[in-house]
């Protein structure tokens, strides 16, 4: 594996708001190792070639969710993608559908607002006291929301979703998946509240089931399933609301 001879060219998007009018591309030809991930190459460039290259990363084990970028046009976790699957030239850019702060760093505050707006926490009519101990939840009940609780907030799905691209209000796949995860948790009583959000502007009905979110999700969360289940629940909730109008504070 000490074959340091192999070289690849990285075409990286650069953007410095204080100096560049618009993003530009910069090429780096560097020696690569056969077992490198895309992120390793960026780190090599940063350490040895160009200290000004900016990007986010931390865990390098595909769990912190910070290293998402477009690699050859597809949203990817760069710490997870083996370099060997790409050819001699690799194009690395900031996540699509996000404003670009600098180089490969995108604006994440919009996502944070969306995530917050779906009330991603357990809502209960009456909070349980610690002394009462843990709630019971059968493995089957756990299984119902498990997949949707695996989202690492990497936002790759946002980069793939055509609705995100064109409707700024859209809550987007991950936020809805996280909200839905709570709504179908047997310990939660907040589905009605979240359904209000889901039926609101940019809510679940904006999704046109492109399924692109699930195609690119590195954690197999299947956010498309979550969003569309959430639609289903939001409609059922709406329909029952028509038939049995809810009391003020029920």
């Amino acid at each position: 594996m000490s074959d340091g001879q192999q070289k690849k060219t990285f075409v990286v998007t650069r953007f410095d708001p204080d100096r560049d009018e618009a993003p530009r591309k910069q090429s780096y030809e560097i020696p690569v190792q056969p077992d490198w991930k895309v992120l390793d190459a960026l780190n090599f460039i940063k350490d040895e070639v160009d200290g000004t290259l900016s990007y986010r990363w931390s865990c390098r084990m595909a769990v912190c969710g910070s290293c998402g970028m477009m690699v050859n046009g597809e949203p990817r976790l760069t710490c997870k993608e083996a370099l060997s699957q790409y050819g001699d030239t690799v194009d690395v850019g900031p996540l699509a559908n996000f404003p670009v702060v600098r180089d490969l760093v995108i604006e994440a505050d919009g996502f944070m607002e969306k995530l917050t707006s779906v009330k991603p926490w357990i809502i209960r009519a009456k909070e349980r006291a610690v002394e009462e101990g843990p709630m019971r939840q059968s493995p089957a009940e756990h299984e119902e929301f498990k997949q949707f609780s695996l989202c690492i907030n990497c936002m790759l799905c946002y980069s793939a979703c055509p609705v995100v691209a064109n409707e700024p209000e859209f809550l987007g796949p991950a936020a809805i998946a996280v909200g839905h995860r709570y709504s179908i948790d047997s310990r939660d009583e907040g589905a009605a509240e979240r359904n209000e959000v889901f039926r609101g502007e940019g809510g679940v009905f904006s999704c046109s089931f492109a399924n692109e979110c699930s195609e690119v999700c590195p954690k197999n969360v299947d956010p498309a399933a979550a969003v569309n289940q959430a639609k289903f629940n939001a409609v059922i909730d709406w329909a029952t609301g028509l038939v049995l109008p809810r009391g003020g504070d029920e």
Binding site: N166, E167, F205, S208, A234
Partner: protein, 119 residues
């Protein structure tokens, strides 16, 4: 308008969803026979002679199926057209386009009822 659209969204989505699901299920046979097989002479044209068509169309089940064959595809179509419009950068004009498309589907649906009653 935006508000009204939001309020109606669940209903529209229901119709749209059924448009894809039941609409597709119903349309396949219709297109196959009425759109292709009969015109191409694979099935003799008298299969849908006026009398037989009247007979089928005036039966209650026939009417329901015909209603589904009109209303559901219209809503599927209108909603998808709206999405196409949005996908090609039309978010700003959605407040105009969406009501127009849905109005189209809605008037088609009303006409469908009239048409079916008329049979």
């Amino acid at each position: 308008m935006k508000h009204l659209l939001l309020k109606l969204e669940p209903l529209i989505w229901l119709l749209f969803g059924q448009g894809i699901l039941l609409g597709t299920v119903l349309l396949t046979g219709w297109v196959l026979v009425v759109g292709l097989a009969i015109p191409l002479g694979i099935v003799p044209a008298d299969a849908l002679s006026y009398e037989r068509a009247q007979m089928l169309g005036s039966h209650i089940i026939g009417r329901v199926i015909l209603l589904g064959l009109i209303v559901l595809p219209l809503w599927k179509g209108a909603h998808h057209m709206r999405h196409i419009f949005l996908d090609f950068g039309g978010a700003k004009r959605d407040v105009l386009v969406a009501p127009l498309l849905y109005l189209l589907a809605a008037s088609g649906s009303v006409l469908a009822v009239v048409a079916i009653v008329r049979i």
